[in-house]
């Protein structure tokens, strides 16, 4: 019966995801009714050509990016929370996101006009490639460093401390760069840190899709390891888990997801920390075989919803996604946690 209820809820979330996806396609500075969205998606050549262009070239890639980023960030947050047995852990704790930001800062602040924000928003321009590439290099370097250090440690808590230290170092380095740059460049960098789902099109979208699929596959394969880690490393070891190997798999998949998504969308906060909590509340379980798909679905739905809110219906203004995720999401989580009175489950 319990299993049936879970399947029912997962099915419900899947349905909700479909609705959110369609709603996201229809909302924007130009409102396109849902009925027309169906026509534009499923019967080629029909409907208004301007609408067709808007939906196929702009909104569809953006919605797909939202789904990919929502899934990826949420499951990597779940991985971090279980691995560190800490409810405050999120994809950024290893310093990967900060590493990506550092890469971007290095390019933007030293390259000057070469990679402007305008270039990022220009579809498929070399500037956006440069930025994504720089972010990947930054994230990758931090990942290698964390991996090298992780093989020397017995304890996952030490990993958390090292991740936080890596975070501070990269943030400090970025700050030095900002300090010596001129205001326009700093503003461009600042705008990048607000995050954007809209810049990923064409080949970039394929690459992001590939990264997220590979990352998710690794994450799903780590479900069993994560279940064992719920009891702490000693018990996990006594049940036959090779803790160091598990750590490599977890660090690699989280780096791939968080680094890749940050490279293409900029830093998107909040999803990684909040969605796993929502999944636990909704499914009342700690089994990662349930929490993984649940976090995926919830993350995608939430990010799509945030994207709808970001382009406030009826107005021309579009707010940065990173602001919305925190502003809308955090109160939701506070409300749910307080109402459910489940705060003590993380003792």
């Amino acid at each position: 019966m319990k299993v049936r209820l879970r399947r029912f809820r997962l099915g419900g979330l899947l349905l909700l995801l479909g609705l959110a996806f369609l709603f996201d396609l229809s909302s924007g500075p130009i409102r396109i009714p849902l009925r027309d969205i169906f026509h534009l998606l499923f019967s080629r050549g029909s409907g208004d050509p301007t609408w067709a262009f808007i939906v196929r070239s702009i909104r569809l890639p953006k919605a797909i990016t939202a789904v990919l980023a929502g899934c990826g960030l949420s499951v990597s947050g779940l991985q971090m929370q279980t691995m560190f047995r800490n409810p405050l852990a999120e994809p950024g704790v290893l310093g990967i996101t900060a590493g990506a930001s550092f890469g971007v800062a290095a390019v933007m602040l030293s390259g000057g006009s070469m990679a402007t924000l305008y270039a990022i928003r220009e579809l498929g321009s070399p500037g956006s490639w440069l930025i994504a590439g720089a972010a990947c290099v930054g994230a990758g370097l931090v990942m290698l460093l964390v991996l090298a250090l992780s093989s020397r440690l017995r304890d996952n808590v030490l990993m958390l401390v090292i991740g936080l230290m890596m975070n501070s170092i990269t943030v400090a380095l970025t700050s030095i760069w900002q300090y010596f740059s001129n205001p326009e460049e700093v503003k461009e960098y600042l705008l990048w840190t607000f995050g954007s789902l809209g810049g990923v099109t064409g080949l970039q979208l394929y690459i992001l899709t590939a990264i997220v699929i590979v990352g998710l596959a690794a994450v799903f394969l780590s479900s069993k390891m994560l279940d064992a880690l719920l009891l702490g490393e000693n018990y996990a070891r006594s049940m036959g888990l090779t803790v160091k190997r598990a750590r490599v798999i977890i660090v690699c998949s989280t780096s791939l997801l968080a680094g890749g998504i940050t490279a293409f969308c900029g830093p998107i906060g909040f999803m990684g920390i909040a969605v796993p909590h929502l999944a636990r509340l909704l499914f009342n379980t700690s089994s990662h075989r349930v929490l993984m798909p649940a976090s995926c679905l919830l993350g995608a739905i939430l990010l799509l919803a945030c994207d709808c809110i970001a382009q406030w219906p009826g107005t021309q203004t579009v707010l940065p996604i990173n602001i919305i995720t925190s502003l809308v999401g955090a109160p939701v989580v506070i409300y749910l946690l307080v109402r459910k009175k489940n705060l003590n489950i993380y003792r």
């Binding site: 279940d227 009891l231 000693n234 006594s238 089994s287 075989r289 489950i345």
Partner: protein
């Protein structure tokens, strides 16, 4: 009796900053047999946990080897099918419910995604019955009391379905009934499921009751050992197992008591070990000799009360007292009249009757303070 675990020339310890720190060196050969319940005893800091963790493969040995069913160098996955553990690590968070936690014990056996087969469910069911946690199944782990939590962790280890079970201080934090209940379950598991069980504990009296064998570690292992050796109480010759100087003893609990090893290992100035009853006692101060006459359970508890009140008991048989000075303070006679106990105190030709131990102690107090 099938031999499950056998150590040879085992040295336990750890590395710290490139230095080898030996906790227990030159241990004798240790064996755990099927159906055997072994208690690992020793004062705090004597290396019980280190030995247990080394035997369980959680930390590498500094020297020697541990053979599991005749094999060495098992992979962690193979080891997980031979030894299951109950550790002192607290498991509270993460929203786990009791059934899921017990089911995690199937980790070494479940499919690569963690799926459970029919055989796994049966093993979980057996573990739940054996650890007697049927009524806890729906609960969240963080709502459990210490006693319940310990039984659940035992069930998790049992569902791992291994021939060897090791528990690190499973009775810590438990109240007395829970401690006894847990020990009873373990005793039954060894007998009925033929498991080899090793547990470390501070519960000497319980260990003495259930253990088939006791492993006794003396304190002061590691770097401090050479200094501590000099002040250690002299042991009867021939009682040490293994080579000379090894602070380790093993044997049936009764043999160890009769050889005086318990006293030697645990006794301090402020603690005495009563060989006749097998319990540790707070030594009374400023003892006054008193004679106690009587038999049965009433006499036993009267003796306890008198000892607590600071009297040294001389046995009832006339002339058996070694303290000298005749009858000491006087004579307490315990009797049972019409199913109720009574006490008579005789001193200096006078005799007084008391109806309860409280009144008796009060009377004795007044008597000793007047004279």
């Amino acid at each position: 009796m099938a031999e499950l675990l056998h150590t040879r020339e085992l040295v336990t310890g750890y590395h710290q900053g490139g230095r080898r720190i030996v906790v227990s060196g030159d241990l004798p050969e240790l064996t755990i047999g099927a159906g055997q319940l072994i208690c690992l005893l020793g004062p705090n800091g004597s290396g019980k946990s280190t030995l247990l963790r080394t035997l369980a493969g959680l930390q590498p040995a500094l020297g020697g080897r541990v053979e599991i069913e005749g094999r060495v160098g098992l992979s962690s996955a193979e080891l997980a099918k031979k030894i299951s553990l109950v550790l002192t690590d607290r498991v509270t968070g993460n929203n786990l419910d009791v059934y899921s936690l017990v089911a995690l014990g199937r980790y070494p056996w479940s499919t690569w995604l963690g799926g459970l087969r029919e055989a796994d469910r049966e093993a979980i069911h057996r573990a739940i019955i054996a650890a007697d946690i049927g009524e806890l199944l729906g609960r969240k782990v963080f709502t459990l009391s210490d006693g319940e939590s310990q039984k659940v962790m035992l069930a998790r280890a049992l569902s791992q379905d291994t021939p060897i079970l090791m528990l690190d201080e499973p009775t810590a934090h438990l109240d007395l009934p829970s401690r006894i209940r847990l020990m009873r379950i373990l005793h039954r598991l060894a007998r009925e499921l033929d498991k080899g069980i090793l547990l470390s504990t501070h519960e000497l009296d319980l260990a003495l009751q259930v253990a088939d064998e006791v492993w006794l570690l003396e304190g002061g292992g590691g770097v401090a050992r050479s200094g501590a050796d000099a002040v250690r109480v002299d042991l009867p010759t021939g009682s040490r197992s293994g080579s000379a100087g090894v602070p380790f003893h093993k044997g049936t609990p009764e043999d160890l008591i009769l050889e005086g090893i318990f006293e030697a290992v645990f006794a301090r100035e402020d603690v005495i070990f009563d060989r006749s009853s097998g319990v540790f006692r707070i030594p009374p101060e400023g003892q006054m000799p008193i004679r106690l006459e009587g038999v049965g359970v009433e006499a036993f508890w009267t003796r306890r009360a008198l000892q607590r009140a600071g009297f040294a008991i001389m046995d009832g048989a006339a002339g058996a007292d070694s303290t000298g000075g005749g009858a000491g303070v006087g004579v307490v006679r315990v009797f049972v009249e019409a199913g109720r106990p009574g006490w008579l105190f005789e001193a200096g030709g006078e005799s007084k009757r008391f109806d309860s131990i409280a009144v008796l102690l009060d009377g004795l107090h007044r008597h000793t303070h007047l004279s």
